[in-house]
């Protein structure tokens, strides 16, 4: 898609080769963070523009994907704060302590009910996670990043990433289970 020709500047070409190869990752992360394609596209656009302006601060040979996602995370958090969206209400503090397995082991121990759940509901459930859980879950479970990479992006100790991931996943699991119960996928 890139237009080759005499207009190619070395810096832009380097940015395209190193950074824009991660555009799909950026879009997928943005989509899960924002919950809709329109906001996701804006977030990707803002992220790429900021990254291009800061390209001289990127150290070649380091993890470019993590560098880009860090910029996206900061951009998203700032917008999120500005718009001061209401935080997700947490019903029970203990919701994360118990796996849904304990509730379904007699009826559906292999978790077949998950596959009855439509994509849109899963997207919504991810989007409804509090942001401190949502980002690690998206980076790990959608993008397959390691704990160390997520820790670098979020500027958190690996142990904190681990515990947020644990709690985020359990909340997501619980939410999908409640939805499946409501829809009659589990009896």
């Amino acid at each position: 898609m890139r237009m080759m020709g005499q207009n190619d500047s070395p810096v832009r070409k380097e940015f395209e080769d190193e950074a824009l190869v991660h555009l799909d990752t950026l879009f997928n992360v943005a989509l899960r963070l924002c919950g809709n394609a329109s906001d996701a596209e804006d977030l990707v656009q803002d992220t790429v523009t900021k990254a291009y302006r800061a390209w001289d601060k990127y150290e070649p040979g380091t993890n470019c994907r993590a560098w880009l996602v860090t910029i996206m995370r900061n951009t998203f958090i700032n917008q999120f704060r500005r718009e001061s969206r209401r935080p997700t209400a947490v019903q029970f503090d203990t919701v994360e302590d118990v796996s849904v397995f304990e509730s379904v082991q007699d009826r559906d121990p292999e978790g077949h009910f998950f596959h009855e759940i439509v994509d849109d509901e899963v997207k919504q459930a991810i989007q409804d996670l509090p942001v401190e859980f949502r980002i690690p879950v998206v980076l790990s479970d959608v993008e397959g990043m390691s704990y160390a990479e997520i820790a670098e992006i979020l500027d958190l100790p690996v142990g904190t990433v681990k515990s947020r991931l644990f709690r985020g996943r359990r909340r997501l699991q619980q939410r999908l289970y409640e939805y499946a119960l409501e829809m009659g996928y589990i009896r």
Binding site: M3, F15, E16, D24, I126, V142
Partner: protein, 87 residues
Amino acid sequence: MSKAMPPPGGIDCCTVMQQLYEYIDGELDEQTVDQIRQHLEKCKRCMPRYDFEKAFLRFVGDQAHISAPPELRRKIFASLLEEEGNH
């Protein structure tokens, strides 16, 4: 299981459950991985829990991974050219 018997893999159920996500995510050292694998192979309590969590994570990970829309790509390339013009 008799109380005198060491737990399978030399690691107890509670510790296995605490590290289950790390095990699935491939975040543990080789020795711990071996211990947990041996435990899971023999433990009727932990194995179904492992299968369930794995199915859950696979399900979340299998959610459609989509390509950035061509229109967004086009806009981004256009904006980079514009940025370059501003330098």
